[in-house]
Every structure is written in C-alpha cells, then in structure tokens.
Amino acid sequence: MKFLAYANYLKHKRVVHRLTTTPTSGAPSDAPMGCTTPAAAHAGAVPAGIVFGAWTQTPTAGTPAVVSGAASGALASPSGGCNAAGGELPSHTDSQALTPTVPPMPVAFPIPVSTTTTAVASRIAAVYRSKGDLGRTRLYVPSNKRDRPSDFLTKQHKDMRLFALSAGGCGLSLKEKAEYYETTVSIERAALRMVAEAAARRKKRKKGKNGKGKPPTVNVKVGPLESAFPTAASFVRSLEGEKWRCLAEQEWRETDIPVRGKVYKFYSRDIMKVATDALTTALKVCLRGERKYDKSGDVIRTNSLDSDVYLEEQADVDRLHAGKKFRGEDLPPFTLAIQLFSDAALVSWNGSKLVALRPPRAPSFCAFLTSDCSHSRFGCPLRLVF
C-alpha cells in the first residue's frame, strides 16, 4: 500500500493501532507498550497465536499488509508492535478459537532486548555506573581543612560571617573583608570608649588634700570582635577557614568526568543527604497528599502534594511498601516528593504571539503538573506548572 504523504501513512498506522488495541483501552495512556521487535514481543511470555488471532479479528486486519505479515511469520503488529505492559496483549475470546498455526520460533532467533520495566531501568543504571564516575568522586574539602574548629562562636560573629560570605551572592572580596573588619572594629572601639567614659564620669571622685582629687582613668575594654580577631588579617584568614568548614559540613563532592578525552569537574552533593537534612530539620512536615474538591465537585489543586503525579506515586508507594516493620512496630511509608530545577536555560521565548494560557483554577505559587498534552493553534504543546 502506498501513501502520498507520510502523514497519511501515520494516520493509517494510528487507525490500525487504535483498532487493534481497543480491548486494552482501560490501560493508562502512558502505559508501557514495550515491544521493540517482533522477537521481543514473542519473548514476552505471550502465545504468539493470540497475537496473530487478534490481528485477524480486527476489521483492518484483512489488508494485504497484514496478510503478508502473517504469511511471512510476523509475530506482532505491523505498526511497530506496541502492546500493553510487559507484553500483555488484548484478550480476545474468539481469537483463541481462530488461532492459526504459527511455525515454532527457531532457537537461534535473535532476541535483542527484553523490554520489561525493570530491565530497562536497571540497564540504564548499569550503563552509568559502568562509566566509573562515582569511583572518581571524592570529598571536595581536603582532610586537613575539614575538622578545623570555628572561631565564630557568638551570634554576632556568626552574623558577620554570614554577611561577609554571602553579600552580593558570592561574598566580599579579601580587601572588602578587611575593610569590613576595620570599620566594625572602629565602631566597636568608639562605642566601648563611650561606655568607659560614662562609667568613669559616674565614679565618685576621690578628693585629695587640695580638694580637687585625681581625675578618673578611662578604662576602655577590648570588644568581642577585636578580642576574637586581633587583626584584620586574622579575620580574613578565619573566614577562609569557615568556607572550607561549611563545604565540609555540607559534604560537597568533586567528580572528574572524562568525556571524549577531556576531563570536566563536577561539584555536587548527595541528594538523599540533602533531603534527609531538610526533613529532619524542618519545623513542619506534611507526609501525605490528598485530592481536594470544591463544592461543585471539581478538583482543586493548591500545591505539589495534590498534583496528579504525586498522588499516583503515593498510591504506588503505598502499594509497594505497605507493612514495613521496624523493631516490631509499623513503619509507615510516605512519598518524599523531589522537584528538580536547573538554571541551564531560562524559559525560552520563541516569538509566538498567539499563546493563550489556560488560567489555573486555584492560583498558587506552589507547583503541580497538568497531565494533559494538547496541541492547539499556538503550535507546540505547553504544559504549565501552577
């Protein structure tokens, strides 16, 4: 069969595909349809005859293409073999009665991959672990700089440290740090001198023989900053040490990643440690999300924890991890939602002028996903996170 345009061919394939997969229409749209090759379809523990039978029962199965496929011993659909998850195929009662005889598959038949869900994910993990990048990962801070005790003990010192290391985003320069110290110390000295002078004035003068007495001595004390850091250089040096200490506490790592003969440095933290730290130090934590409805029965979305994706994951986690025990007590599972964001590129502006955004039902700054993909006049599918 020839098609004038490729789009017509695709439409034909789509119609054929829809008709053949109608019995499994209850499956979700993104259900795994994982047979890459006819051989893989056959390897999925499904009787090949049923597959063939299903094809012969469909109204479009009588096309010459299908017949030729059957004649040539094709074991899956001519549309690329997109079947249900794990090789689960349409159950057709009549088709079993009409199952034709399929020649047995030769032993040496090439089966490239087994497209089960576990296999693909495990293979991806194995591919990246085989690169050896984790083996080249080490802590960024050298051990001699890791366990140095902090000189910034009081709250005021810590506030100064925060300002010096974070002002303007990347902190003050060396010269600015020294100037910051000098300014603060001069203010501290002036304040302490005023305090000392006031204290001296309050003191009762001891009258001498002539009745005038000796003028009181002004005893200016050394302030907390100057006592901790006698010079500007010591302050700047301590801040450098603090940088190392902070990086060591957060366990920043350094990885050498060789790609096509060139080595790139990648700095990272372990995401699970970050998550554990965030959760254990949080004042308020919500462990479960639930679907919310308004009075008219419409779904209300207010934050990430009532999004479709999170609720589906929560159901999956509950199903897989229910009944965990820890020292004889129930260990309730919960879904720890993780959102990722990279500054690799900001939102692109492609010059389009006909963009019509669908307003959210419940405006919120929290993020959740819409799960639809609709192509409309403005061209590319736009999925917003409200």
Partner: protein, 196 residues
Amino acid sequence: MVYPIRARFPNVLTGKSEWITIGYIPAMKYRKSATTAEKKAVRLLRDELLQRCLAVVLDELVTASADGVKMDLPDHGVVWAVPRVVLYASDQPEERHVLGLKLSGCYFPCSICMEYKTHVATESTGARARCVLKTLDQQLEAAILSDTGDRPGQVEKLARQASICPIVPVLGAIHGLGKGSLSFFRIFGFDRLHVR
C-alpha cells in the same frame, strides 16, 4: 563556567522549603565560528555531560526510589521515606536535552505524544502517547551503538523513528519514571513564576 542544579522538597512546609543547590554542572559553549557539524558535536557532548552529572548526583536516589530509606522525623518518629521525582522544572529545550530527544530537525517534536511535526500546529489528531519503555530502549540501543561506533545507519534510523539522540536519560533509571508508574514524560513543566 558552571550552572547550578537545585532541588526542592514539597513535603517540607516550614524549614528548608526553598530550592537547595545540589550541584554545579560545567557549561559548554560553541566556538564563535563553529560549523554546523561542530555545533552538533558540542550539543551531543553537552548532553552526555549533563546526563553523567545527573547520574552522579542522583545515584543514591536511583536506589532509594525503589527500596526507600528510613528517616527519623522529629514530629512523626521513624518513617519509611520513598523518594520520587515529581517535577523537573525546565523549559522545552532543556526538557528535550534531559530526555535525550532531538530539539529540532525531527519528525516528532512533542515529548509526550507521537504527533507528527506537520500536525503540531493544527487540531490534535489524537496521536498515541510516546511509549516510555520503547523510547528508553531505543535510546539505550542507539547510545551503545554510538559508543562503539558500530552500525551508524541503525543509529540514524533509530534517531529518525523516535526523534531521539544517542543519549540515555538517567532519569529513566529512577523508580516512578522509567519503571513503576512510568511518569517519565509527565514530570516536566515550569514554574509560572518564570513565565514572562
């Protein structure tokens, strides 16, 4: 030159509920007078580097998303936390990079469905959803063939069939994305705060 990758945990209501930097990915730019072929090579290199950086930073998550981890939370006691990625906030070009799909010059420019390129500006014709496992499988095959330098024709064929690059997206190894509920193509979106 680097750019940060950040994470956020929506379960935390009060506390560290903001974006937390978890890595700095090296950035790569074209040479000013780069040819088209050089640009293509740099794009591939950039994609590979991005995936390998993500692989390092998400390695623990791959295991934990399937098995879970024990956590002792102050108000809730000992709980079993199962991490799942529910959002990758990015724009469309970055989405295509992270998914290992072609950004342009392809037949199927939609990441979610298999709508043909000439149909994306028209009314939807009801194209089928992009199959997560099949796409990942094709990417694996293309990446392995591309690494070994074997069968460039097959790599080209796979790229044409599914609009993929010979790059394996590491997010596919995480439970809930490449297995389980298979939300791989659904987690992408962007925060409306970033929309002008």
